[in-house]
């Protein structure tokens, strides 16, 4: 618990190096949720994958720091953690594919998934490039798409009016798509 609190404080203060230590903890929480999800969840109740990860993060942090200051800034941290988790996962899938580690079986959309893994990596790279030009836009995209936050939540987290969030996001989305598909 103390460990998580400490890591979160550091992360909030801008120390991105703590992410590596934080992610395994989120994963662990993910498993707890997933087990319940797989074995006990009410029929027809399907969680969105991103919100599942979200939930994992929330539960973990709640345990660590019940009176965490602001919901919005907390989400902001969550978005970063999630981006990291997803990108790591995509990278490991790509590596598997290169190593021939995991062979294709009932492929269904596996190749499709692999392509999408590539897509998320491309988005990640483009997002890094965007950050060098426009840090705020990059953060907003991270919150919106990796963190699953609403424009209102982003607005209160980064302290800009909601309509500006909309505008900035629209611009950033088009730019990212252009970057990724070019």
């Amino acid at each position: 618990m103390a460990e998580i609190t400490e890591l979160l404080t550091k992360l909030n203060a801008g120390d991105k190096s703590v992410l590596d230590s934080l992610i395994p903890l989120v994963y662990k929480e993910l498993h707890n949720i997933a087990r319940g999800y797989l074995l006990r969840e009410a029929p027809g109740h399907t969680l969105q994958p991103t919100s599942l990860i979200h939930e994992a993060y929330l539960r973990m942090v709640k345990q660590a720091h019940p009176e965490y200051p602001s919901r919005a800034s907390f989400y902001g941290v969550a978005a970063r953690v999630m981006r990291q988790i997803l990108v790591d996962h995509a990278r490991s899938r790509q590596a598997d594919k290169r190593d021939g580690g995991e062979k294709v079986q009932v492929t269904d959309v596996l190749d499709y998934t692999d392509d999408r893994s590539a897509a998320v990596l491309a988005v990640n790279d483009a997002l890094d490039r965007l950050a060098t030009e426009d840090e705020l836009k990059s953060r907003m995209v991270e919150m919106r798409f990796f963190g699953g936050m609403t424009a209102e939540e982003i607005s209160s987290c980064v302290n800009v009016p909601v309509h500006t969030v909309h505008r900035q996001l629209r611009m950033a989305q088009a730019w990212l798509r252009k970057e990724v598909t070019k």
Binding site: Y27, R35, V104
Partner: protein, 856 residues
């Protein structure tokens, strides 16, 4: 980020599309900035979905990894790793948790069907069907179940391979190599279709090729489980489909058949040959996708790849929008590819359907005629292809239905129609194909076992026991034995309900009948007796049951001839009497029942014929007369009843023989014999002309021709008898195990020989006699004391000797007489028929010996 670009972007996206260009013309003079803004505008639409998709896909992959790493076990299987995710759930690599064996498997966990109502039972039922698919190119289904949490799963053979389209590219396969690979896929699909399983979701990702170049089809039939699970959300099912490979009928939600698999295979082949699927559906709405699949013709594959024209025709034929215009079967599809590979002309052509169809029709004329007959009889208006498609699609429950329709309804409808033997043959083949499959499942399902047993019984009738059968007695015995075994699997027949007991006994009687005809006398007698004991048991619990009484009578009436042939004369007489009494009782109790009257007539006939067989010809006359009287009335009541007509023919023919032997100068009796023989021949001739493939009709024709031929002048008789001999030859060829046919061939040759001799054709007569003797000798070797064979054998040898003597061939004549003498001397003490024969032969031998030694 350039603030100017950003400003212009926001200004332009707020405008309607048609005003954007004008706005930029007026507000942006820097071409580089303008280009940048235009690029952003181009990527604006759908950018949100684009990012969401990219992220949520990876997120679901994380979720699966997390969930299963924790869940670890599914049923008896331990999860090793996630290997894929589909519309329905995820696929994992796994192994047996209890270490019973080391096999690595793939488990498809249908998470999205959680709580969908797909019960364990239903899953197991599907599992049984799918697990029966045993083909080297189909990944075996090993297990299926529901997790503790209620999630259905399938366990399959783990296949280490790559999708077939990628394999083609990776290995740089040539066109023939690609086609041969594809044909191996077709083999597997055809195999499954024969097992009545339609894949429904064929696509490259479901067709893997191993490093050894072996194709493996995955997920056979699973799409069906999904689509038929009521609780599964419609959306989920739609998502499970891969629209690029789905057929028009599939996306429209219509009935799916083997033709749908043919379409999907066509798409796979298109992809293998061109690198693209026939319809590009990425980023297209569902409604648009349906429209494209249902309406747009496939793009010319030669836009993407250099292909021969026939290859394009083949693809076209597989990808036709209307299922009935595609290849009729996967086999035909593969066959056409084979045609292409071996340089033969292909079936598929550019819209010259009529020509193609007519060509096909000509080649398969016989089969088509039969099938069309069947279809018409069934009242099915659909084309042949649809019928076949339907046949494969309706699995299990429907097959059961179809088998019943085929065997019972259809058979009933053509039963009395002459000329339908070929159609019956087809029915038998088709039905057997299904029954083989069904009997495996019957063990667990009593109702099914009973149905399958009845079906086998019916097949047995068609094969060789009933009226108008196709004359394959050995196969008929097998079918009846299968029917009996199935019924026994339901429990001891003696302790079953009376109804079931009577059904069992009925099959026994049929089996015994065929066995009696094929000279398996002991088996026949045993089975008749078993039927009698079953009927007696059933009558104890229900003494007034007509069905049990009828069975008892049938059991008794089967025995006399067989017992007589086993020389059990008292037994034969006793059972004939009991049978007659029972049938009299039944006919009196059921005055409106044609069958009861028919059976009574038959009882009179059997009793009379038994007398004849016992050499009491005169005692037989009243019995024959009663039988004929009853039968004539039945025929006049219903002139179209060919079964009744045939019985009449049999009685007439037989009676005529007896009258003839009794006549001896009694002119009215002789005239009556001739008239009866003529009438019998006319009935048989009509039946054989109407249905030349009908074994029974041929056999009847032969018998009556011989009977009638006796009364004709030699010149008139020879063509008639030659026809009889030919008919017998056909019969023997079609059913070599049938002893009766061979005996009849010998006898008809004998009769023909007599007519030839009367025409002074001694060589011709001798030839026929020789061939007859050879047959009779073979037959007597199989049943040493059978008078029915040995008497004509000795007689035939004697006449052969006479002919040889007449031709001056004294040595040969002597040899033949001696051969006859040997048998005659053996038989004389055993059977009165042979009385005086040795003496007669000896005097003939003396004669020829006198001629041999030239007078001194």
């Amino acid at each position: 980020m350039n603030p100017e670009i950003e400003r212009l972007f926001h200004a332009v996206v707020a405008l309607p599309a048609d005003q954007r260009e004008i706005f930029l013309d007026e507000n942006c003079s820097d071409p580089q900035i303008r280009r940048e803004v235009e690029l952003l505008l181009e990527h604006d639409a759908g950018s949100e979905t684009f990012l969401q998709d990219a992220i949520s896909n990876v997120a679901s992959s994380v979720r699966d990894a997390a969930s299963l790493r924790e869940a670890q076990r599914v049923g008896a299987w331990e999860i090793l790793a996630l290997i894929g995710r589909g519309g329905m759930g995820a696929v994992y690599r796994a192994r047996r948790a209890d270490g019973k064996f080391e096999q690595v498997v793939a488990i498809k966990v249908l998470q999205d069907l959680l709580g969908s109502g797909l019960g364990k039972e239903r899953l197991q039922q599907e599992y049984r069907i799918l697990a029966a698919l045993d083909h080297p190119n189909i990944a075996r289904l090993l297990d299926a179940g529901v997790t503790e949490g209620g999630i259905p799963y399938f366990v399959m053979e783990f296949v280490d391979g790559v999708p077939i389209d990628k394999f083609c590219v990776q290995q740089g396969l040539t066109l023939p190599q690609r086609l041969r690979l594809f044909i191996s896929v077709c083999d597997a699909v055809q195999y499954a279709h024969q097992k009545l399983v339609v894949h429904r979701d064929l696509k490259p990702d479901n067709i893997l090729v191993t490093a050894g170049g072996i194709t493996k089809l995955l997920d056979f039939g699973i799409a069906k489980v999904l689509s038929e699970t009521p609780g599964a959300a419609v959306q989920t099912v739609t998502q499970a489909l891969t629209p690029e490979y789905a057929s028009p009928e599939q996306v429209r939600g219509e009935a799916i058949s083997t033709a749908s698999d043919i379409y999907s295979l066509g798409c796979v082949l298109y992809k293998m040959l061109t690198g693209v699927s026939p319809h590009q559906l990425q980023g297209v709405s569902t409604a648009e996708a349906v429209k494209i699949i249902c309406e747009r013709e496939m793009p010319d594959p030669r836009k993407f790849s250099d292909l021969p024209a026939d290859m394009v025709h083949i693809l076209h034929m597989a990808l036709r929008k209307e299922p009935q215009r595609r290849y009729r079967s996967v086999e035909q599809f593969a066959g056409d590819i084979q045609n292409l590979l071996s340089g033969h002309s292909v079936l598929a052509g550019p819209d010259t359907l009529w020509y193609r169809n007519s060509r096909f029709a000509r080649r398969n004329w016989v089969a088509l005629t039969a099938v069309v007959t069947v279809l018409l009889a069934l009242g099915i208006g659909a084309g042949v292809a649809t019928w076949q498609a339907r046949r494969a699609e309706r699995r299990f429950a429907d097959v059961r239905h179809l088998a019943n329709v085929f065997l019972f309804d259809f058979e009933k409808s053509i039963h009395n129609v002459p000329g339908t033997t070929r159609a019956r043959q087809l029915v038998v083949t088709t039905a057997l194909e299904y029954l083989e499959k069904l009997s495996a499942d019957a063990a667990k399902d009593p109702a099914l076992a009973r149905e399958v047993a009845s079906a086998y019984e019916k097949v047995g009738d068609l094969q060789g026991a009933g009226m108008a059968n196709i004359g394959n007695t050995a196969e008929a015995v097998r079918s009846f034995e299968k029917a009996l075994a199935l019924r026994r699997s339901l429990g001891d027949p003696q302790s079953a309900t009376p109804g079931l007991r009577v059904e069992y006994g009925g099959v026994l009687v049929k089996l015994a009948t065929v066995q009696g005809r094929t000279n398996q006398l002991d088996d026949a007698i045993r089975h008749y007796r078993e039927a009698i004991s079953i009927a007696e048991g059933a009558l104890q619990s229900d003494p007034d049951s007509f069905a049990s009484t009828r069975l008892l009578a049938n059991g008794y009436m089967g025995l006399p001839f067989n017992l007589h042939r086993r020389s059990d004369i008292p037994g034969a007489l006793d059972s004939a009497q009991r049978g007659l009494a029972l049938r009299q009782k039944l006919a009196a109790a059921l005055p409106q029942d044609r069958q009861a009257k028919q059976e009574l007539a038959n009882a009179y006939y059997v009793g009379a014929d038994l007398q004849v067989r016992m050499e009491h010809d005169a005692e037989a006359v009243p019995g024959y007369e009663k039988a004929l009287d009853l039968q004539r009335r039945l025929v006049s009541e219903m002139p179209d009843d060919i079964v009744a007509r045939r019985q009449l023919m049999i009685y007439l023919n037989r009676f005529s023989f007896v009258q003839f032997s009794l006549a001896e100068g009694d002119k009215p009796l002789a005239r009556s014999a001739v008239a009866n023989a003529r009438e019998a021949f006319q009935i048989a001739d009509r039946a054989a002309n109407a249905d030349p493939a009908n074994a029974e009709a041929l056999s009847d024709l032969m018998t009556t021709a011989v009977g009638f031929g006796r009364f004709l002048s030699p010149v008139e008789a020879v063509p008639l008898l030659e026809r009889a001999v030919r008919a017998c030859q056909d019969l023997v060829r079609n059913d070599p195990g049938n002893r009766e046919n061979r005996l009849n061939l010998a006898l008809s040759r004998d009769v023909l020989a007599d007519s030839l001799r009367a025409r002074h054709d001694l060589a011709g007569a001798l030839e026929q006699r020789r061939m007859a003797a050879v047959i009779l000798q073979e037959l007597s070797a199989q049943s040493p004391n059978d008078v029915k064979i040995l008497h004509p054998y000795v007689a035939s040898l004697r006449i052969q000797g006479d002919l040889l003597a007449q031709m001056g061939n004294w040595d040969a004549a002597r040899r033949v007489y001696l051969q006859a003498l040997k048998t005659a001397e053996e038989m004389e003490p055993k059977n009165p028929t042979f009385a005086g024969m040795p003496k007669d032969l000896k005097s003939r031998i003396k004669d020829v010996e006198a001629h041999r030694r030239p007078a001194p």
